[in-house]
């Protein structure tokens, strides 16, 4: 012992120096590979949205709904909210409990989803009946027998959740090609079995849609108005397409970590060139316009017929990533750029933000983690994982500007149907572009639409983050797609379906999936959009138009005797002209004269939609009186 003690004593200085060296080496090692602390993402709750604009279209929503345990058990009322936003723009909303008098139903079109219909009392049904008798149109989804005076059927019918197939659309307003495509819609819905009406036989022009040979959608005149009955759950059918179909237990069942494209309704949707969800909406709302003229605020400004929404991620590249934006900047087009925090210098970011719309590319497991090192620059022993919200905040801070758009890297998703949406909402993302192709050979309308929608939480309420589906993502490897598929999608969006086509090009794709098709497809799309009056824009700009038009006031009334449609529009201030769409033909006749603020408008000079159902009228922001005469 004494010897040991003296050994330590004799080598004390050496040991101290060695210890200092060891500590230094250890500190250097820890600085290079700091201890990491993980973080979990907070969740936001879904809430009832406020009414934004005002319209003669009234959507009545249930007072409350229980949290669903399974997908068929969902309250899909807010699918109507999405459908009306996408199709009409502004509309009014009311809860069932708000319907107390005829005053509460002063609307030209009343929309009552299934859960709402079930919640209506006898007296409230009576109020609706009065409104219809006086000329309003009613769209009602899967009505219970209490609605028999309006629907013409009082037999208690049994609902079925088995997947059905549309078999005929005899009086659909759609063109013959679209009608064929309508019958191919993959359906996930519940139906009411209606073989015939109790009140009177269904006239030859009243049946609009059949499912498995049964009545699925029909029109019935009641007094001065019309009732449109949907004997299937339209909200479920649209949600299953748009938001995707989880397993019955509301989880995504995959062996690999889930991606958004795992939510597609069926495999046919993985390479799909037809916006089925929007075809169904066009059928339902077109049938109303076919009966009585209804104005709408078209989803593209300046009477344009389609949009090319360009988005990019900077990926693994640093400041050089923005070189890929040169053609867009030269063309004076603002596009979306999703940036991973920490990879781009603040200077480059600020320069880019002057000409581009910057969003955040959120990196979360299993794709990766982003850490924030704690400590002074020379010694940072601890690194804390950044949550989605922190990543967005960090980027907003370096940009000195609030970021609204998000995209989860590699479209990574949660096993839970809505957990990722709740995280995005908690991160205050107003817009997300994660829905889209993820695997080789996937492209097109995987989610049945190119329009943004609010995702529906299990309690039936919408979360606050708009989901804008991506149609083309070069990360899947464009060489795995049919070579002309992207340009055909854009051509069809312009000439047939009138859709926003969101395409995503990573700045580093040529390093990860190198193919000449990537830059060539990008150039072809940009060139086609430029030469064919397609609105080329960013996701943020598109959402700005999409949501600003919801703030408008659009009141209308149709006078059957004079066959005149009066529209009172008050359009919010904006740097673009809105587009008012009026039915070209309706039961009262064909639109033959039009006055905007008492100035006559040449109807023949107006641009029609591809299906010929509507004429597009550019209208500047402000208050306007529009009068349309049908003959």
């Amino acid at each position: 012992m004494k010897s040991d003690s003296s050994w330590f004593h004799r080598f004390k200085i050496d040991l101290i120096l060695i210890a200092i060296l060891a500590v230094g080496a250890l500190a250097w090692g820890i600085h290079r590979h700091p201890f990491t602390l993980s973080t979990s993402d907070p969740f936001a709750a879904a809430v009832m949205p406020q009414q934004l604009g005002q319209s003669s279209i009234l959507l009545v929503l249930p007072d409350n709904a229980p949290t669903a345990e399974s997908f068929p058990g969902y309250d899909f009322s807010f699918a109507w909210y999405n459908a009306l936003s996408q199709t009409f723009g502004p509309f009014s909303i009311a809860l069932v409990r708000d319907i107390q008098s005829a005053q509460d139903l002063r609307a030209q079109l009343i929309v009552i989803p299934q859960k709402t219909a079930e919640a209506f009392s006898e007296s409230q049904i009576q109020l609706v009946s009065q409104a219809v008798q006086q000329g309003a149109s009613l769209v009602i989804e899967m009505p219970p027998p209490e609605w028999a005076p309006l629907t013409g059927t009082k037999r208690r019918t049994k609902g079925s959740s088995a997947i059905k197939r549309l078999t005929d659309a005899p009086n659909s307003p759609l063109t013959s090609t679209w009608r064929e495509q309508l019958l191919n819609i993959p359906l996930d819905t519940q139906v009411l079995r209606i073989d015939s009406l109790d009140a009177e036989p269904l006239s030859s022009d009243s049946l609009l849609l059949e499912i498995d040979g049964g009545i699925a959608h029909y029109r019935r005149p009641v007094g001065a108005g019309f009732v449109f009955v949907l004997a299937f759950n339209f909200g479920q059918a649209v949600t299953a397409l748009q938001q995707g179909r989880p397993g019955d237990a509301l989880s995504i069942e995959t062996e690999q970590p889930p991606r958004t494209s795992d939510l597609v309704l069926n495999d046919k949707m993985r390479a799909n060139t037809v916006p089925y969800a929007d075809l169904l909406k066009t059928h339902v709302f077109g049938a109303i316009a076919q009966t009585t003229p209804v104005p709408m605020l078209w989803p593209f400004p300046n009477a344009q017929k389609a949009a090319l929404i360009l988005s990019h991620s900077t990926g693994a590249l640093s400041d050089d990533a923005f070189l890929a934006a040169t053609p867009e900047i030269e063309a004076g087009v603002r596009t979306s750029w999703f940036v991973t925090p920490g990879r781009i210098s603040p200077d480059a970011l600020r320069r880019a933000a002057e000409k581009l719309d910057i969003g955040v590319s959120l990196v979360r497991p299993p794709v990766g983690r982003i850490y924030k090192k704690i400590g002074p620059d020379f010694f940072q022993p601890v690194a804390v994982e950044r949550s989605m919200a922190e990543q967005k905040t960090a980027l907003s801070r370096s940009l000195q500007k609030n970021i609204t758009a998000c995209k989860i890297a590699q479209n990574a998703w949660s096993h839970d149907y809505t957990a990722a949406f709740r995280r995005l909402a908690a991160a205050t993302c107003k817009l997300d572009l994660s829905y889209g192709p993820t695997h080789a050979q996937e492209f097109g309308y995987l989610f049945g639409s190119g329009f943004p929608f609010l995702p529906i939480e299990k309690n039936g309420l919408p979360l606050s983050t708009y989901e804008l589906p991506t149609l083309i993502d070069d990360a899947v490897g464009l060489e795995t797609l049919p070579e002309e598929a992207p340009i055909h999608l854009l051509k069809d969006a312009l000439n047939t379906y009138h859709q926003p086509v969101t395409v995503h090009f990573d700045a580093d794709t040529m390093l990860t999936h190198p193919s000449y098709l990537t830059p060539q497809t990008y150039a072809d799309l940009l060139d086609f959009a430029r030469t064919h009056d397609v609105w080329t824009t960013s996701a943020e700009q598109f959402l700005f138009y999409f949501t600003t038009r919801k703030l408008a006031r659009l009141l209308y009334a149709f006078h059957p005797q004079s066959r005149t449609l009066d529209v009172d529009a008050n359009l919010p201030d904006a740097p673009f002209d809105y587009t008012l769409a009026l039915p070209r033909r309706s039961a009262p006749g064909t639109l033959h004269a039009l006055w905007l603020d008492k100035n006559s408008v040449d109807v023949d000079a107006l641009r029609p939609t591809a299906d010929g159902l509507f004429l597009l009228i550019p209208v500047p922001p402000g208050a306007h009186a529009i009068q349309a005469h049908y003959q």
Partner: protein
Amino acid sequence: MSRRNQAIRDRRTRATIWMVILAVIALIIACRHPFIWKQESKIAPGVPIGLEAVSDFLIVIDESTFDPSPKSFSDMSFSLAWLNTFQQEIGPTSLWSAPRFAEADLGSTRVIVLTQSVSRHDDWTPKIRGFLERGGVVVMEMPQGDLRGLASPDGKGGLRTPQSFTFAQGLPQDLMAALSDLNLADMTQIVGSAGPLDDAQTWLTIDGVPVITSKKYGAGRVITVDFNYGMILTALQQGRPLDDFSIRNVRASSLIETEDLARTGDTSLPRADILERFLVHGVINDAMPVVGFWPFFDGMSGALIVSHHEQGAGDVALWMPQFESTFKATSTIFVNAPMAITDDGLHQLEKFQTEVGHAFTLDAPGTSMEPLGWFKYSPVWRQFSLDQQAQTMRDLLDSNAMPVSSQSRDGLWSAHYTHAFQRIAAAGFRADASYRAPEDTPGYAFATGLPFIPLDTNGLVFNLVEYPVVFPKLETDDQLQKLTALLKDSESRSHEAIGVSFDALSYPQKPDFKKFQIWRDAYQIATHHKHWITSILNFMRFSRARVTAELKSRSVEMRVANKPSVILRLEILAPEAGMSITVPKFHQTRAFAEARRGVQRVREDIVLADPIAATPVSLGGFDRILIPLTRGFNAIDVIYE
């Protein structure tokens, strides 16, 4: 233990501990900054060459006069440079050594080129005289003695250092201006004479001195080239080193690049080809109708020889060949060793018909190395020699996909004129594309876009062909504009192979869309100007077919369709499809009328076969007619009326 012993032991222990610690630290530092152990490359010097071709043209050299170790560049023998001229402009050419010539029968030859190395062979004078009297054409480079006495200027002015070209008979003005711009001081020597030669025609003068003259002799013609033609051609194409064969770096860099050898100044015109075509299609063609194989497939106006850099990125670099395959173009991709391309990537390249070449490094640190020791941490790394780099590639490739072409990464070169060629040849490559124009001034820095055989300092040839890269980088509008100008000129007059190199990683790493557009536009413009977009290997195969082809011609006068005519009878063996020949537009004051296959004689007149669709072309300012061939034997009569 005594206190002293204890202290001694402690000191030893302390020293041991600190030695171990220092050793560990030293090892860590050494692993981070390892010692590079360079391997010596194998060397293959220039080798003799002899060619027995079925051709109108014969070049004669005497290797015994070659200095195997010349002290300066101007002491080198450049006689073999003549081979480049005739292989580029004609195709099949015989090349005989002096003993072979002395014994051979010259009956099937129409043009003999007596290079400077045989200029003292007075003993051949009777043989040459006989050949001339039978109507042959003899080109003599700086002849001496009795050979000079046949029909050349007296040469009494002796050797002189020249300044510039001053006159060229029949050469368009702008092409003459391009030649005049050359500073000839260190590129050649001329022979002065006391006075003009009677009855001779002067074709070319340098500093006012006639240096190419032609004079009838018997039924034939003597063309005297009184300057070192081989030297100027070599200095232009292969570059001009300093007199001690070292290369001076003319840029602000410590590394030697191939562009340091260029001596042309303005790079917009292929001056070596202007000179060659003037000699062949101007001077010799005046003495006898010159028939030559067209250098490009399917009668196209020129070629865009495309290569890519893989830069060790592996399959990421394959997107450019992928695009080229969509319009049946091919290219060469130069791959680093050790090779990062996967088997799947190689399979794809095979499908695209892309040639895999080797991007080598001569001495550049940090490339083509492997650690010696533990895994990737080692204080010593071995840097592969060129032949080892090539071997690592060959080990990974199928035997039928052995790399034929090589390229020095970044154009880095040896400090000696030919050491790099010696190593490339020893590594077994048959084509090289290391010679490249400066990135900021692309163009014909080596006075040609066509491939040439480099000479070693011993005057002999390397068993490889150098493909100069005209555009080492093509990413800006200015560069594309220049390419467009060169393609346009190539389509109309210069008919060149334009080597273009694209960096396959440049766009992926810095995705400036302009680069992609320019790359794609380059192909469109080349196609528009009728250029063959191809790889080095494909061009080499076609060029090899040209020089192994057979071509014999003779002129006869007869009546065709009752008109007095001159017929140029051609017997040609075309080993490949897509080959063509050119013939002069004018012959003996008569103009080209038509070309027909297998003209048959019936009594006094002849029966004509169907005419061949012929196209007029201008080759370096000389009017010619392009005639397509079928694969195999072609008997063609070209009729001049």
